[in-house]
């Protein structure tokens, strides 16, 4: 199990504006390095692919992605489950995110985005990548946060996560 805890500030944007961006699956997926969103299903879920390089092995995952949003509370969750194109590995990822007013900047309109997630990779890949998977996933999460923040415009990232964790 690989846990993700990311948090970043968007000083120049109000929570409602940041939320609008976060609740658009296309915008969010564009911020995930290597990810592409496919067709939408009747139940509101999406197909998606994610290409990840684990050390030497480039692995393409196909996933079914479900998005649950609570507009009033500005909270949401993404669940993705799928397998790689070789069929040797499966993964499950859940990610909860919320937008709040930026702490310490009350009345100035800034936002903070908080992301908590869990990733699990099982199967053959798990044996190949060992500790490397944790690093790759953390690196991707950090890059995702960075992209999202940049998209929000002129945002700064607080407590930039350590890649080597």
């Amino acid at each position: 199990m690989i846990e993700i805890n990311e948090r970043f500030d968007v000083s120049c944007a109000a929570p409602r504006d940041v939320w609008k961006l976060l609740s658009d699956p296309h915008a969010v997926v564009e911020c995930v390095p290597g990810a592409a969103l496919g067709d939408e299903h009747e139940d509101g879920s999406f197909d998606g692919t994610l290409a990840v390089r684990f050390g030497p092995a480039k692995v393409t995952f196909r996933a079914r992605i479900e998005l649950a949003l609570d507009d009033d509370k500005m909270t949401g969750s993404v669940t993705a489950r799928g397998k790689d194109s070789q069929g040797g590995s499966r993964f499950r990822a859940t990610m909860a995110f919320r937008v709040a007013g930026q702490a310490g900047h009350a009345g100035q309109g800034g936002s903070t985005v908080i992301i908590d997630g869990e990733n699990e990779i099982t199967g053959k890949l798990a044996g190949i990548v060992e500790a490397g998977a944790r690093i790759v996933v953390k690196r991707m999460a950090a890059e995702f946060a960075e992209n999202l923040a940049a998209r929000c415009g002129g945002a700064q990232i607080k407590d930039k996560p350590q890649a080597a964790e």
Binding site: P56, Q86, L125, I128
Partner: protein, 551 residues
């Protein structure tokens, strides 16, 4: 005649010239009878498992049957790790072992050897009666060759002392086996394989030790040229044909970044005499878009990712490749594939490793050490790589083709390559050989360096000594564990070698290694260079799996 005398005659008649092992109550009569017959060299070792490891080395080098011996009970239990290793290496060998006398059920060395052999993945034959003696030996050699696996031939001590009453000469196992005929692929299957290959824009040929054994080198090059293939080998055929163009090195985690990027483009992989196990293809991830054509003499081989090739050809490697090339020639097929000048340029620098490490004072960068040895030790000398972290350095940094390069890793155990090296030296009639090993591995069977000294073997052991269980050290650092727990001090192993009567050196700089290795090259004999290496240098394989880096 006693049964043990007949058994000695039978082994000699099987063509045995070398036996490796340790004498005990259970085999000493047989060994004395062999000595009387003459023409069979018995090499005494200090640990029974080393004897079996030597027979394994002999088998890997000659593809013939290696022979070892141990006494009953405690002599047999010592064989465990070496047996499993030989079984995984598919080495044909016969282990002649004693067995407690059946009439004494409380015999102190009593041990149930049959289930032990089964657990060690070896075949088992008991010489239950004098009448069965000939057939038992014949069957042991027959099965070892036919199934390419180790066989335990168990001779109860009381049966050995019984009378053998047959005057006819022993009939060897060679009479049971048909003359070796080459396995040829089905014509329809060959056409299907040719269709797949003809459609390839980026074909890769992966040649394994089966291809090497079948003498397929020229056939690989000819087909490779026709279809524009990149040539790779399995670890078992490392550096084979490395002096030829478009050679990408080892397929697997030991591939360079350049090679991996090229493999990724492959649309067809032609595997020849390679099992295509999980390591060769990284569970298939190395070739995400490829279809497979697989040539092997066995009825079928399932690849490591649990998949079967798109077209499997049961064939001898060389004959199969020649047939494919003939079909493609008839069709007028010729393709550029990977063979553009640009790919050649990329491959030219593929072994450069630009990652810098903070090398501790008094130690050396193991990568530089291996490169220096590859230069100093002539290409005519065979190489054995060891286990653990040491293999990660040697495999990536010895890049010259040599008459043979044998890797360990059949059972991922340590300590098995010193025995294999000694067996291979005997198998090649005493040709010099270099083994590059780790410190824990070397220490495990260091007592048997005495064997190398007693028989004056031209063996150079270079110890990549990080004073630790290097692989565990690297993993514990990555996992933020208490890595000091994996550090274990060694003595100056060079001075131990000298105390044994061999030569030895302690080296803390690459120049010292060069000097010592050059002395050995000038005058090969049993020698150990204890080369102190940095713990901060991380093998490329570990950089990949532990840190998610790709170079």
């Amino acid at each position: 005649m006693k049964v043990y005398e007949r058994l000695a005659e039978a082994f000699k008649a099987e063509g045995v010239t070398h036996i490796f092992g340790m004498m005990g109550d259970g085999n000493m009569y047989w060994l004395e009878a062999l000595d009387k017959l003459g023409g069979v060299n018995m090499l005494e070792v200090r640990h029974e498992g080393v004897g079996l490891g030597m027979a394994d080395g002999w088998a890997r080098q000659t593809h013939g049957v290696g022979v070892c011996t141990a006494t009953c009970g405690p002599g047999v239990t010592q064989l465990a790790t070496a047996f499993v290793t030989a079984a995984r290496a598919q080495s044909p060998l016969v282990a002649f072992v004693g067995e407690y006398p059946g009439r004494d059920q409380d015999y102190i060395q009593r041990f149930e050897q049959a289930p032990f052999a089964a657990a060690c993945e070896a075949g088992f034959i008991r010489i239950a009666t004098p009448e069965y003696a000939d057939e038992a030996v014949r069957k042991a050699f027959y099965l070892a060759k036919l199934e390419s696996r180790p066989i335990m031939l168990s001779a109860p001590m009381d049966v050995q002392q019984m009378k053998f009453e047959d005057e006819d000469p022993y009939v060897p196992s060679s009479t049971l086996l048909p003359k070796q005929r080459l396995v040829r692929a089905d014509a329809q299957a060959l056409e299907e394989a040719a269709d797949i290959i003809a459609s390839a824009k980026k074909p890769v040929i992966v040649a394994g030790r089966g291809a090497l054994w079948s003498g397929a080198g020229e056939a690989v090059q000819t087909l490779g040229k026709r279809i524009g293939a990149l040539i790779a080998t399995s670890l078992r055929a490392k550096n084979w044909m490395a002096d030829k163009e478009y050679h990408a090195g080892v397929s697997g985690l030991y591939a360079t970044k350049t090679a991996i990027n090229l493999f990724e483009e492959a649309d067809v992989v032609i595997a020849v005499g390679a099992s295509m196990n999980r390591y060769t293809t990284e569970h298939g991830y190395l070739y995400p878009n490829a279809r497979y054509v697989h040539l092997d003499p066995r009825p079928h081989v399932m690849m490591g990712m649990g998949r079967s090739a798109d077209c499997y050809l049961q064939t001898d490697g060389r004959v199969g490749l020649e047939a494919l090339d003939a079909i493609l020639a008839k069709r007028g097929h010729q393709s550029t594939g990977y063979r553009t000048g640009e790919v050649l340029e990329r491959l030219a620098n593929q072994y450069e490793d630009r990652t810098e490490f903070d090398i501790e004072a008094g130690t050396m960068d193991p990568r530089k050490l291996c490169r220096a040895l590859d230069e100093v030790v002539p290409q005519s000398i065979g190489l054995l790589t060891g286990s653990g972290a040491s293999a990660g350095f040697s495999t990536m940094n010895f890049i010259k083709p040599r008459p043979f390069i044998h890797a360990a890793q059949f059972f991922a155990c340590i300590g098995q390559m010193l025995p294999a090296a000694m067996g291979m030296i005997q198998a090649t009639g005493g040709k010099p050989l270099m083994l590059v090993e780790g410190d824990a591995s070397t220490m495990m069977h260091l007592s048997d360096f005495d064997t190398a000294v007693r028989y004056n073997m031209p063996l150079l052991v270079v110890v990549l000594n990080d004073q630790a269980l290097g692989s565990e050290y690297q993993k514990m650092v990555a996992h933020k564990m208490k890595a000091e727990l994996s550090t274990v001090r060694t003595p100056d192993i060079g001075s131990v070698a000298r105390a044994f009567g061999g030569r030895g050196a302690l080296a803390t700089t690459v120049d010292e290694v060069r000097k010592a290795a050059a002395e050995w090259v000038a005058n090969p004999g049993p020698m150990i260079i204890d080369a102190r290496i940095s713990r901060n240098a991380i093998t490329l394989a570990h950089r990949r799996v532990l840190y998610g880096k790709d170079e």
